[in-house]
Subunit: 180 residues, 2 copies
């Protein structure tokens, strides 16, 4: 099984900062110290297509509410809805493109409180809100720290369609002149 | 942006029950009552391909640790690793194919404690373990109930590569002769 892209256009082309404060430096120069708790930022918009809803679900979540429009129309949501994992992927793409640092990102141990409070339907237009909750230097590894972030995706009717609390490990900014 | 499948083979073809008790009825006939807390089941195996790791990440998580083998070789994991969201998708496919009921599945409000305790690398062979933790009838809607399940993906070295606690809403079995 292999996925391939039918077009090379970025799904996030044209996404822009909607609210909050832009980071002081671009992602490639960001480190742990650039994630000040308390700041919220919003980026949008991304439009969800039926073709991608169905293709994603055929591979990863083949429940008919995600793959079969006729079945879905008779189901509890009254129509086709995106897999929650597809919604999470849309969130992650925005999170990578606009929030995470570049080379200073050292991965994630996991996340908590992933919720899908309202369904995502083809044609929905979503924006991301990210709020830095906590930035804690590592006690055992002085070159890095843990950042906790509340992430949300919000639809055109101002409903939250995804929320989560992410944990990410970021490198600390090297001291000037250390050669690191 | 549209994904398409290069082959139509199921990634889970040949996956079989490895441990635990098979459900008494096939998925199409399963309801809330078939999810008895305490039972663990295992299904495997699924092998992860580099092509899918890179294709998934290009769309949903374009960090170079997931997309660029040369960069990844110099990074903290010493080689290309799968996006945690791709790993979650692999888990979900097994969960849908082997654990969830068919038409009795009414969606999920979310999940907790999603963790990626070890990286997934191309060539890894994974199996799923699912343990039903709790099955609670709804107080407000007598036709359904909430099932909580611990899900794990385990690699060929017996390392957990994903764990989570899922919440799912399932229909209750209709009483005989009610016409429901």
């Amino acid at each position: 099984m292999l996925w391939s892209m039918a077009t090379s256009a970025s799904p996030c082309a044209g996404v822009r900062l909607l609210a909050g404060n832009e980071f002081p430096v671009p992602a490639s120069e960001r480190y742990f110290e650039d994630y000040a708790p308390g700041l919220a930022r919003e980026y949008g918009y991304v439009t969800v297509t039926e073709a991608e809803v169905r293709a994603f679900a055929e591979r990863f979540d083949p429940q008919p509410m995600h793959t079969d429009p006729a079945f879905a129309a008779t189901g509890p949501f009254g129509g086709l809805i995106a897999s929650g994992w597809h919604t999470a992927g849309i969130f992650m793409r925005l999170f990578v493109d606009h929030y995470l640092p570049g080379a200073a990102s050292l991965g994630s141990p996991g996340l908590d409180e992933l919720r899908w409070p309202a369904p995502v339907r083809p044609g929905d237009t979503l924006r991301m809100r990210v709020t830095t909750l906590e930035a804690r230097p590592s006690r055992s590894k002085p070159d890095r720290g843990l950042v906790r972030t509340r992430g949300e995706l919000i639809n055109q009717e101002e409903q939250d369609v995804l929320s989560l609390v992410a944990m990410n490990i970021f490198r600390r900014r090297p001291a000037p002149g250390t050669g690191h």
